[in-house]
Amino acid sequence: MPEENLHTYQSFEELYHAYKSIVYNTCLSYVQQPEDAEEITQNVFIEVNNSLHRFRGESLLKTWIYRIAINKSLDHLKYRSRKKRFGIFSDIFSGNNSPAEATADFHHPGVALENKEKSAILFKAINQLPENQKTAFILSKIEGLGNIEISEVLKKNVGAVESLLSRAGDNLRKQLSSLK
């Protein structure tokens, strides 16, 4: 578990090693593509490097980095859906004949082998959740954060986080039941 004090990190490299796993996993849960997750992880650390001098320590460093990772991932998803929507036009103008985006099953490398298939279905369902519910679910079930930590990341009260988690669970159950 990384230290929470900014001054404990002597160099950017140390900071990277302390948070790389958190950032990469958060991004991977959102975008569900290892290459994209690595690209966003790079963007997150560049942002951290550029704005570290502006970090006032009002929240924990971990919370701040989580927020950046979530925002960058959501931005990437928006960019991807925009690209999908206008894919036909851009393909015509750029002469690119490849499909806009492959939507293959995502197999998280950290899931046990016997659960791979089920988790792929779950990740597909997570993709359909609204942004806030998706974030709350990922932070709680995949990142293993407590409700208080999630409330700090989302800047919401604990009650709101509980409500988001409950609605996310209901929506997932509904979606998964309708798959049958």
């Binding site: 790079q42 089920k118 079930k141 998964l176 049958k180």
Partner: protein, 102 residues
């Protein structure tokens, strides 16, 4: 049937219990450092960044104003050219007279 479906959904949701963290590529740090280095090389001073937006807005405004003024003066010039008639021609035109000088 409903119970079975609900059980299956629960089973799917619990499939990520005990999920382990994935590690990014070993060379990601090297690539990241390179990107930071490149960004620093072509970085714009922060003060200049603040000036860029109003500067760009002014430039666009200036171009639009120039285009509008060009269109405006061009049209009025065309109108002037159209109405440019000698007084004799105007008189002759009004009274259906022939202006040919013999």
């Amino acid at each position: 049937m409903e119970n079975k479906q609900s059980y299956n959904a629960e089973e799917i949701i619990s499939s990520i219990n005990g999920i382990e963290r994935a590690e990014p590529d070993y060379f990601l740090l090297t690539r990241l450092k390179q990107r930071i280095k490149n960004n620093e090389r072509i970085s714009i001073p922060p003060g200049f960044k603040k000036i860029l937006v109003p500067l760009y807005a002014c430039l666009v405004f200036f171009i639009i104003m120039n285009m509008l003024s060009y269109l405006h003066f061009n049209n009025s010039k065309a109108q002037t050219v159209q109405s440019k008639q000698s007084p004799e021609d105007a008189f002759a035109g009004e009274y259906n007279l022939d202006t040919t000088v013999y």
